[in-house]
């Protein structure tokens, strides 16, 4: 097990957290401007079952794996 790999990940996570906390104090996209972002066609993972299957097809036949579909964006509600 590559211990160095785990330590780097932790530092990376803490670093991202700090960057994000400092960076975004006022949202530059107002919640009432999020109509386009909330549209289903802007969803990275619109059909999870279908996406999982096609990723499985590639993972099974290719050497590379991981860092597949990342989702997010949201509707800015609540």
């Amino acid at each position: 097990m590559n211990n160095a790999g785990i330590i780097d990940m932790r530092k990376l996570i803490l670093l991202s957290f700090m960057l994000v906390s400092q960076g975004c104090s006022t949202p530059w996209v107002k919640p009432y401007e999020r109509a386009h972002l909330a549209d289903p066609i802007m969803n990275f993972n619109r059909d999870p079952v279908s996406n999982n299957y096609i990723h499985h097809v590639y993972d099974a036949r290719e050497g590379a794996r991981g860092a597949g579909i990342a989702t997010g964006g949201g509707c800015g509600c609540n």
Binding site: I13, V29, D39, N52, H56, R65, G68, G74
Partner: protein, 389 residues
Amino acid sequence: MAVTNITSGKVLFFVNRFLSIAGLCFISQWSLAAVLPEDRADVLFHSYDGGGAEISGPSILVRKKFGEHVSTTLNHYVDNVSSASIDVVTTASPYTEKREENSLSLDYLQEKTLMSLGYTQSDESDFEASTFSMNISQDFFGDLTTLSMGYAQGDNIVRNNTDASFIKDVITRNYRLSLSQVITKNFLMAFALETMSDEGYLNNPYRSVRYLDNTVTRGYTYQSEVYPNTRTSNAFAIRGRYFLPHRAALHGGYRFFTDTWGINANTYELGYTLPYDEDWIFDLTYRYYDQTKADFYSDLFQQPDEFIFLARDKEMSTFTSQTLGIGASYEFKRNGTGILKRGSLNLNYDFIAFDYADFRDVSVSALPGEEPLYAFNASVIRLFVSIWF
């Protein structure tokens, strides 16, 4: 040409560890916080046909909220395999197999934090995978940023259909970090980092490598493959999605992969999503993939036990794959006031072309090392119904 009787059984078509990955990909939400995912049910019929292998089956998913804080997801997936692939026809005989995978996951939402736990069990005659995963997702400051992290662990058992006493295990560990960021009111980006670590019996009990052998007519002889018992890989991906004024989306992404076996791979994806006439959504995608071979891979070794580790798995060779995909989605129900709130019928077709640079097609008679380079095409169909209730 003498055919050896080593394996009267079959060659595993899916490399062992990748089976648990399917479970990991499913369970891990990697999704937005602040609102629980909607209740839905999906019934998918999937079909893969390429390189002599036909695999099809259903995948059924049901997701239900309980109160405003908890959501549960259940998935049942089956692969009915009928394989006569290049490895199977050259070293064994065609076979049929059934793999079944069941998953359960639980999501808990507290303010802007979403916590998920998942468990997947996959079974087939010579491979069992049990995967446990956890994930936490957090929205930040105006919900423009979502940070997500996850850990998953798989405990897998590898068997051999031709040898009842053969039993080995594999432990896989996954660490994942992803960030999704709203850039402008029309542009979303996502970043993902994933480290995977495997330990145990990582090769395929049926697969063989070949080495030059002047003592036999065909010029080469097979021996069992030998893999290292650890593998650590790192992948980094960046994705973007852009909303076009006339209501369409352009999306693209890049993933870089590297591991301790010497494999480096690049994946490029580009896609266009076009809605039409209120009820229809069309998708067009292109994907390009290339990888370099593992350090211990060779299509033809010069002598037996040439190196400590030996592999001849085409998935570890130098190759490219290109995919062209089209999809159509028809929303047959929208804004329903009864139990059925929304429903869609979907069809996706993907055509994948695999081209190998150092894996040869030994089903063709030629001097060892001069057989034609192998290439094949695959057709993938996804037909599914989704309902929101």
